[in-house]
Every structure is written in structure tokens, then in C-alpha cells.
């Protein structure tokens, strides 16, 4: 996928790092900003513990037709300095969404051409091996996510070589 600076990124680029990943779109009425606040809030809280490795926050769009790199760059500014926005061609985005079993469906456009994208809601935790370790739905609080990530970091065992 392309990040918000236009640079090509692959999931392999994030191996070795802990990642919190969310799929949404920038014209989302309320859920995406709330989930991103929660995700980035958790990242910020974890950052303040010097004993823990940093977590990379990622936001992937499910609306690549409107959310180009520039739109992603504008959107992510409000959340966390290290939040990376990712977009790409419809095929690339669909492949990424498929890899994480994300459901999404663009609604019908209105007279202004605007539409909302209905989508499943989850924050995914990926470990340094790139494997999905956990996921957090709408009902999970920032505190619960912080505790869960901390727990995963403590019990993490790298895959054997």
C-alpha cells in the first residue's frame, strides 16, 4: 500500500515492531474518529512506559477512491504524530482488507455524490512476527487495550528461526 507521504509500504516493513491497525475511511461520521482516538490514546499511554517497545499505529482506508495519500495525510494529523495512513488502488486495498477479514461496503451515493462505507470495526494487534495476536471491538476501552497490549508484550515469545 501507499503511505500518506506517497511511499510504498509492505507489511514486512513492520516486522520487528508491534502494530495497532484499524481499517476505516476519512468521511466516517463518528466511529472512525472515536476508534482512532482510542487506538492512538492507547499508543500514547504505552509510549510513556520506557520499559515497553513503541507501538506503530496504522490506519488503512476502505475508501481508496476518495482517500488518496493527500486526504490521508490531512486526516491523520489530528490523532498521533506517528500514525501512518495507508491507501492504494481498489485492488490493493481490497487485498489488505481481505487479509484481515474486514467487511466493507460502500453505500449508495446521494445527489452530492457523497456516500458512507459500512464496515466491520476492529483494532488489530500485530506482534513483531507480523502475526495477528488480538483484536479489540467497539466495546473495548482504551484502558483495556493498554492492559491487553502490555500483557501480550510480556508473554511474547518470538517464533523459532
Amino acid at each position: 500500500l501507499l503511505d500518506h507521504t506517497g511511499r510504498r509500504r509492505r507489511m514486512a516493513d513492520f516486522h520487528g515492531q508491534w502494530v495497532l491497525l484499524y481499517f476505516g475511511f476519512t468521511r466516517c461520521p463518528d466511529i472512525c474518529p472515536e476508534e482512532l482516538e482510542k487506538l492512538c490514546g492507547a499508543v500514547g499511554r504505552l509510549e510513556r512506559d520506557p520499559a515497553l517497545p513503541p507501538v506503530q499505529p496504522l490506519f488503512v482506508t476502505l475508501d481508496p477512491r476518495r482517500d488518496d495519500a493527500a486526504a490521508m495525510a490531512r486526516y491523520i494529523r489530528d490523532f498521533h504524530p506517528r500514525l501512518l495512513g495507508l491507501t492504494g488502488s481498489p485492488e490493493e486495498v481490497e487485498a489488505a482488507a481481505h487479509a484481515y477479514r474486514v467487511y466493507s461496503h460502500a453505500g449508495p451515493p446521494d445527489e452530492a455524490g457523497d456516500y458512507v462505507v459500512d464496515h466491520s470495526i476492529a483494532i488489530y494487534l500485530l506482534g513483531p512476527d507480523g502475526l495477528l495476536l488480538d483484536y479489540y471491538g467497539r466495546s473495548k476501552t482504551e484502558e483495556q487495550i493498554v492492559q491487553s497490549v502490555r500483557q501480550h508484550m510480556q508473554t511474547y515469545k518470538p517464533l523459532p528461526d
Partner: protein, 82 residues
């Protein structure tokens, strides 16, 4: 496709604020929309049309959920009862 910029954080908050004011008015007047027309217009002017639709549906859902929680679930009567 027409490129439309997403609302900024300030614009989102202004929209949510207008929505919340409108909903508080509805709460005060037992959902009588005629008592809240000014706030309805303010809400519609501050939010994209798609978001107005989304929040209208959200309000319906929240009311339904409250009803289920307080009154319990009553299945609708079947059209042809045996």
C-alpha cells in the same frame, strides 16, 4: 469521481455539537420535531447530508435499544394468526 475533502476535526466537532443540541431538544420535548426546527436546521447545516442520515438512524436505534432495555422485547404480531 468528485474529490471531496473529509471534514476536519473542528468541523466534525461542530457537527457533533449541533447534533447533540438537537437531540437534547428532542429529549426535552418528547421527540416532537416541530419544537426543535431551528436546531434541526443548524444540525443539517453543520453536517454532511450522509452524516445527518447516519445520525438520524443512530437516534432511532438508540431509542429502540432503550425501549428493549426498559420494556423488553415484544415480537410484532404475525399478520395471519392461526
Amino acid at each position: 469521481a468528485v474529490k471531496m475533502s473529509a471534514p476536519t476535526m473542528e468541523e466534525r466537532k461542530a457537527c457533533w455539537g449541533a447534533r447533540d443540541e438537537f437531540w437534547r431538544c428532542l429529549d426535552r420535548h418528547g421527540d416532537d420535531g416541530s419544537k426543535c426546527e431551528k436546531l434541526r436546521l443548524a444540525f443539517e447545516s453543520r453536517c454532511p447530508q450522509q452524516w445527518v442520515k447516519h445520525f438520524d438512524k443512530r437516534r432511532d436505534f438508540l431509542k429502540y435499544k432503550k425501549k428493549l432495555e426498559t420494556e423488553g422485547y415484544h415480537p410484532p404480531e404475525a399478520a395471519g394468526k392461526s
